[in-house]
C-alpha cells in the first residue's frame, strides 16, 4: 500500500454531500405511481375514448339524435345505424353518444359546483375555526344527516328537469363531503410551520389560503372529485330511470336505459348499448379514482 493513500482527503465539507439518488418531488412521485398502475391507466384510456366519441361521435354518422324515421323503427345494428334504431326510428349511435355527452356534462357541472361550494365552505370553516367553525359544522351535520336521495328527488320534482337543474339538485348535498375533506385538511395544515411563518411575515388571510393552504389540499380534492363524478353519473341515470330526468327528445344515458327497458324483451340491444356505456364510464372513473388515491394519498406512501 502506498503512503499517499493515507493522506487526508482535501475537500470542502459542505460541497461534498453527494446526492446519489435523484430527488423526487411529491407530484413526480405521484405521477410515477399513477403510471405504474395498470388499472388506472386503463380507466384513463376508457374515459378519454368515451369522451372523444361523446363529443365527436356524431360526426361519424349521418344521423342526429332527435330525427324520427317511422320507416326504420326498432332496427338492429347495421352499416347505416351502428347501434340500430329505437321505437321512433331514431339512430341509437347518435343518441347513445349524445346521451353520454349530456351525462358527462351534468356530472362535470355538478362536481364543479361541489368543489366550488365545498372548498369555500370547508376552507372558511377550517381556516377561521372557533365560533365560525362551530356554526358551520352544525350546518354540515344537519345536511349530512339528510338522506341525499330524498333531497335530490324533491328538488327535481320542484325544478323543471334540465341539465342545469339536475346538476344543481345533485350538488345541493354533494358539496358536503368535499367541505369536510377540505376543512380537515386545512385544520391540519394551518398549524404547521410554513403557515405560521407566512402569517408572521404579515401575509393576508386571502394570500395564506390561496398560496399556502389550497395547493396542499389539491391532492384530497382530486381524489374526492374522481369518485364524485361516477357517483353523479349514477344519480343522474337513477333519476332519469325513475322518471325525474330529462324530457324527450333530450337524452342522457339514464333516459336511454329507461327507454331500453320498455322493449327489453323484444329488442335487448336498445338497452345493451347505453347500459354498457354507462357501466364503462363508471368503471373508467372508478379505476382512475383508485389509481389517483393510491398515487396521491400520503398515508399509503411507503
Amino acid at each position: 500500500m502506498e503512503k499517499e493513500s493515507f493522506q487526508p482527503i482535501q475537500r470542502n465539507f459542505l460541497s461534498y454531500q453527494r446526492l446519489e439518488r435523484k430527488q423526487v418531488g411529491f407530484w413526480q412521485d405521484a405521477w410515477y405511481r399513477f403510471r405504474s398502475n395498470k388499472g388506472a391507466l386503463l380507466g384513463a384510456i376508457f374515459i378519454i375514448c368515451i369522451m372523444f366519441f361523446a363529443f365527436f361521435g356524431s360526426s361519424f354518422s349521418q344521423y342526429d339524435y332527435y330525427s324520427q324515421n317511422l320507416l326504420e323503427v326498432d332496427q338492429g345494428d347495421s352499416a347505416q345505424h351502428y347501434f340500430g334504431t329505437d321505437s321512433l326510428g331514431r339512430d341509437l349511435w347518435a343518441r347513445t353518444w349524445y346521451g353520454a355527452k349530456i351525462s358527462l356534462l351534468i356530472a362535470f357541472l355538478a362536481v364543479a359546483l361541489d368543489v366550488l361550494i365545498g372548498v369555500t365552505f370547508g376552507g372558511i370553516s377550517g381556516y377561521f375555526g372557533g365560533r365560525v367553525d362551530d356554526t358551520m359544522q352544525r350546518v354540515i351535520e344537519i345536511l349530512y344527516s339528510i338522506p341525499n336521495l330524498i333531497v335530490i328527488i324533491l328538488m327535481l320534482m320542484w325544478l323543471e328537469p334540465g341539465i342545469i337543474p339536475i346538476a344543481v339538485a345533485l350538488s345541493i348535498t354533494g358539496w358536503v363531503p368535499m367541505a369536510r375533506i377540505v376543512r380537515a385538511q386545512v385544520l391540519k395544515l394551518k398549524s404547521q410551520e410554513f403557515v405560521l411563518a407566512a402569517r408572521s411575515l404579515g401575509a393576508s388571510h386571502r394570500r395564506i389560503f390561496i398560496r399556502h393552504l389550497l395547493p396542499n389540499t389539491v391532492g384530497p380534492i382530486i381524489i374526492s372529485v374522481s369518485f364524485s363524478i361516477p357517483s353523479a353519473i349514477f344519480f343522474e341515470a337513477f333519476l332519469s330511470f325513475i322518471g325525474l330526468g330529462l324530457r324527450p327528445p333530450q337524452a342522457s344515458l339514464g333516459v336511454l336505459v329507461n327507454e331500453g327497458y320498455r322493449y327489453l324483451q323484444l329488442y335487448p340491444h336498445q338497452l345493451l348499448w347505453p347500459a354498457l356505456l354507462i357501466s364503462l364510464i363508471m368503471l373508467g372513473f372508478n379505476l382512475m379514482g383508485d389509481g389517483l388515491r393510491d398515487a396521491l394519498d400520503p398515508k399509503m406512501k411507503r
Binding site: 493513500s5 493515507f6 487526508p8 454531500q17 411507503r302
Partner: protein, 336 residues
C-alpha cells in the same frame, strides 16, 4: 462461555420500486447468556432491522439475502414458520418502541397477557390468570387483579410499557430484545423502565439485546456495545472500551453530540455534519467517509475491515492501519 445467539455475515434487503435497499450489509456478533449487548446507531442504520430479523418478523418486502442466525444449535433463518413460533415468546421475546400502538386496543390487558402463557406454558385459564397477576406485580403494576380487566387506553404510556415487558416475560425467555424501549416515553419514566428491565434481567438471568440511539442508557445498563452505521458494524467493544478508548470517528462523533454535566456553557454540542448514505446505492468504500473529519484518500477507495484492537474491541476504520498518522489517538482522552 458458549454464546446464546450468534449472527454471522447477515445481509438483509428491502424491495422498493426504486430498487433494492440494503439495510443490513454483513454483520457478525454474538450474545452470551445473561449479558446485555447494546446496538447503537442513528435511525436507518439497520439496528431495528437486525432485531426484527432475529425474530423473523420482517415485513414481506424484506428478505434475508444471506447469513445465519444461530440460536442453540439451530439456524433461525432456516426454521419453518411453525418452529419459529415455538421460539418466539418462549426462547426469544421482544418489546417494541411505542407502547401506545404495540398493544391491541380492543383486548383487555389480561387477554393479551394470557395468550402467551397459555401457548408456551400450557396453563389452564385459572393458572394463567394467577401467573398473569404475578407478572404484572413483577413489572411493578399495583392492583394487578383490576388491571387485567382494563383496556390499553385506560393505562398511561409508562404502564403500557410495563405491560409490554410483562407480555414479553410470559414465556420465560432466555433472550429479550428491546427495540428502543424508552424512546416514546417521558424522560422520568425512561429511567424507571430501564431500571425495571435491568432488575428483571438479573432476577430471571436472561440476556438482553438492547437497540437504542441513546448512549446515556447504554453507559448505564450495557455490558458491551456495538455501533452500527449504514448497515455495517463500525465499532464493537465493552462499554469501557467504547467510551474511554473510542476508536472510530463515528463513535467519537456520537459521544461528542451528547451533552455532559462537566461541559462549560461556551462549549456547544457538536453535531455530526451531513447525513448517512443512501442504502439504495450503498458506497463501496467506507460509508462514513463523507462525514468524517479524519477521512483519508484510501477511505474513499477501499472499505475498511473490522479488525481487532483487543480481545473484545473491534473497529472498522483505516485510521487503525499502521500507515495512518496517529495524531487522532489523543483525542478521546484530551476531551475530558
Amino acid at each position: 462461555m458458549t454464546p446464546l445467539l450468534t449472527v454471522n455475515n447477515l445481509h438483509v434487503s428491502f424491495h422498493s420500486y426504486q430498487g433494492e435497499i440494503q439495510a443490513v450489509r454483513g454483520i457478525h456478533f454474538a450474545v452470551k447468556p445473561g449479558e446485555t449487548l447494546a446496538i447503537v446507531g442513528e435511525s436507518g442504520c439497520g439496528k431495528s432491522v437486525t432485531a426484527q430479523t432475529i425474530m423473523r418478523l420482517l415485513p414481506s418486502t424484506a428478505k434475508i439475502v444471506q447469513g445465519e442466525i444461530r440460536y442453540e444449535q439451530q439456524d433461525l433463518t432456516q426454521l419453518t414458520e411453525v418452529k419459529m413460533e415455538s421460539i418466539r415468546g418462549s426462547q426469544i421475546a421482544m418489546i417494541f418502541q411505542d407502547p401506545m400502538t404495540s398493544l391491541n386496543p380492543t383486548m383487555t390487558i389480561g387477554q393479551q397477557l394470557m395468550e402467551g402463557l397459555r401457548k408456551h406454558l400450557h396453563l389452564n385459564k385459572r393458572l394463567a390468570k394467577k401467573r398473569a397477576e404475578e407478572l404484572l406485580s413483577l413489572v411493578g403494576i399495583s392492583n394487578p387483579h383490576l388491571r387485567l380487566k382494563q383496556y390499553p387506553h385506560q393505562l398511561s404510556g409508562g404502564m403500557r410499557q410495563r405491560v409490554m415487558i410483562a407480555i414479553a416475560l410470559a414465556g420465560d425467555p432466555k433472550l429479550l430484545i428491546a427495540d428502543e424501549p424508552t424512546t416514546a416515553l417521558d424522560v422520568t419514566i425512561q429511567a424507571q423502565i430501564m431500571e425495571l428491565l435491568k432488575s428483571i434481567q438479573e432476577k430471571m438471568g436472561m440476556a438482553l439485546l438492547l437497540i437504542t440511539h441513546d448512549l446515556g442508557i447504554v453507559a448505564e445498563v450495557a455490558d458491551r456495545v456495538m455501533v452500527m452505521y449504514a448497515g455495517k458494524i463500525v465499532e464493537h467493544g465493552t462499554v469501557d472500551e467504547l467510551f474511554q478508548h473510542t476508536k472510530h470517528p463515528y463513535t467519537w462523533g456520537l459521544l461528542r453530540s451528547l451533552p455532559q454535566l462537566k461541559q462549560s456553557r461556551e462549549e456547544s454540542l457538536v453535531a455530526i455534519p451531513g447525513s448517512p448514505p443512501d442504502l439504495l446505492h450503498p458506497p463501496k468504500a467506507c460509508p462514513y467517509v463523507n462525514r468524517c473529519l479524519q477521512a483519508m484518500v484510501i477511505c474513499d477507495q477501499t472499505p475498511p475491515e473490522l479488525t481487532a484492537c483487543s480481545s473484545t474491541h473491534q473497529v472498522a476504520c483505516w485510521l487503525e492501519h499502521p500507515m495512518a498518522s496517529k495524531e487522532h489517538e489523543n483525542r478521546a482522552g484530551g476531551d475530558e
